[in-house]
């Protein structure tokens, strides 16, 4: 039982990361209707920035905040410069643009920072507690705590501020929002900006324990995409719940079904396939999920 609970805690910890990144994907999808395949690489680049600052003796939490701020501005700039000109293009074009960004950002990061493994200083001490024989690591607590803080801040910004109201209005009906004077372009930039900042935080926290290199974010992005699909691409709540589900199922598979190598990659996706067969919009999504 305590083994099960220990694995559950580990699963929730990694699930919190998938949930964060899935939340970023949902923010972008809700506003611009785009599946951003470059979200993981944007987070990778942000994490390189954290490393860059810590190498210059900036305290790690400050480095993370700086990287988040730069990512916020960078995300807005990407929307304005790369996405806006092709906003009305076919979904296929948009997929190609974000895949192009995926490759470009990855390459730029490696050219700029080199392809050796970078070790990031930990932002918090590595500790483990054993309440009732269940192992809980500080990693899990921090990742879950950060996810809760993110959700809380997002909720307050979106539901308690005027800019949040405008953001939700644009996500629901851009044309009507424009007709009452909401600057729609700025709201789309805000969506990309918030997504980039959330991705930066997730990247910095998940990579610190294992080291940073060019492919660091790729598997995480695949899981985040799976979580966003499972939860529904237009549902922030779905992203969080499904992120945790994907994390827990992945960990449990490794623990209990590890008969074939890499089976932990198969089971979560098999589960998602089954759910989507019966609920194509995802667990929390509405049925209208295609671009029109």
């Amino acid at each position: 039982m305590s083994l099960f609970l220990t694995q559950l805690m580990i699963g929730i910890g990694s699930g919190a990361v998938y949930a964060s990144l899935a939340l970023a994907l949902v923010l972008v999808f809700r506003t611009t209707g785009i599946l951003n395949f470059a979200q993981g690489e944007m987070a990778l680049y942000s994490t390189y920035l954290v490393w860059f600052f810590t190498e210059r003796s900036v305290p790690v939490w400050i480095a993370i905040l700086l990287a988040m701020a730069i990512s916020f501005v960078g995300g807005a700039a990407i929307e304005r410069i790369l996405i806006r000109p092709v906003e009305q293009a076919s979904p296929l074009v948009l997929v190609i643009v974000t895949i192009g960004m995926f490759l470009a950002i990855n390459s730029i990061a490696q050219v700029q920072f080199g392809n050796d493994i970078k070790l990031l200083p930990r932002a918090y001490p590595n500790k483990t507690w054993l309440p009732g024989n269940v192992q809980i690591s500080s990693d899990t607590l921090v990742l879950v705590g950060v996810l809760i803080a993110e959700c809380l801040i997002l909720y307050l910004v979106l539901n308690r501020t005027k800019i949040g109201l405008a953001f939700r209005a644009v996500a629901s009906n851009a044309e009507s929002s424009r007709l009452v004077g909401v600057p729609v372009g700025r709201m789309l930039m805000l969506g990309w900006a918030m997504a980039a900042a959330i991705g930066a935080l997730a990247g910095a926290l998940v990579i610190a324990p294992v080291g940073l290199q060019g492919a660091s974010m790729q598997q995480i992005l695949v899981y985040a995409f799976a979580a966003a699909a499972l939860g529904g691409f237009d549902s922030p709540v779905g992203a969080v719940v499904a992120g945790l589900i994907v994390g827990v199922v992945g960990t449990m598979t490794t623990q209990y079904l590890h008969v074939v190598h890499d089976i932990e990659l198969v089971v979560p996706f098999g589960l998602i396939l089954v759910v989507l067969l019966f609920r194509p919009a995802g667990l929390f999504g509405t049925t209208r999920v295609e671009r029109v």
Binding site: R168, S172, V180
Partner: protein, 237 residues
């Protein structure tokens, strides 16, 4: 009366297709003007060109300033509210939030609260549903919401695109009565595009008849009501 809106040589279209072939019309301050015409005559295109939703050429003077070529949010800020065809409900927001987003450009919190209360008393059905998601309401309620949302911005001119579309006859009549009250009591100017010529001509003081992107007839509402061109436009010949 002075012209609130004066349009000359308005041309617009979609891509290579030109829909409007150069329109001249005006709306005086406090006046209700109707544009009649069959499907595809260019009525909706005219309104979309005025509110900046599509590119247009020609001269558009509003309240003494040229507004041609400006972006929709700037035109909204200048005082033109567009109630789009199909109501443009922001379906994921509540009724209350739909009204508050209508006041996005305003900074006077007490005034906004007073206006919300005012439109709730004009449209009691909206008050009953204020915390409900707007997308779950009936067509008539959504049309009331669209009009109230537009009025939250305190516009000088309201563009109404087919307000009767998809509504039951009784609901349509009630809606047009409310529009007439708003014009009479608050002096709100309106440019209305409407298929229901009978109702529209009762509301409006003047009208224009649009046929394949050109104005073929204009006159007072009474003149148009007895005009053959009007009937012809509605038969779509």
């Amino acid at each position: 009366m002075t012209d609130l809106l004066k349009v000359s040589e308005l041309r617009a279209g979609y891509g290579a297709v030109r829909v409007l072939q150069g329109l001249d019309f005006s709306v005086a301050a406090g006046e209700v003007v109707v544009i009649l015409g069959a499907n595809g005559a260019g009525k909706t295109t005219t309104l979309r060109a005025l509110s900046g939703m599509i590119d247009a050429s020609g001269k558009v003077m509003f309240d003494g300033h040229p507004i041609g070529g400006r972006r929709p949010e700037q035109i909204a800020a200048a005082g033109i509210a567009h109630v789009p065809q199909g109501r443009g409900t922001i379906v994921d927001l509540t009724v209350d939030e739909n009204l508050r987003i209508g006041a996005y450009r305003r900074r006077d919190a007490p005034g906004i609260a007073a206006d919300i209360a005012r439109w709730y008393s004009t449209f009691p059905r909206l008050k009953e549903r204020q915390t409900q998601q707007a997308g779950s309401m009936s067509g008539g309620e959504q049309q009331m919401l669209a009009i109230a949302r537009a009025l939250m911005g305190r516009p000088k001119l309201v563009l109404l695109d087919e307000p009767s579309l998809g509504l039951a006859p009784l609901v349509t009549q009630e809606l047009f009565r409310t529009l007439a009250d708003l014009n009479r009591d608050d002096g709100i100017s309106m440019l209305v595009v409407e298929q229901n010529a009978g109702l529209a001509l009762k509301l409006a003081a003047r009208g224009y008849v649009l046929e394949t992107g050109t104005i073929v007839t204009s006159g007072t509402a009474d003149e148009l009501a007895g005009n053959d061109d009007v009937r012809r436009a509605y038969l779509g010949i």
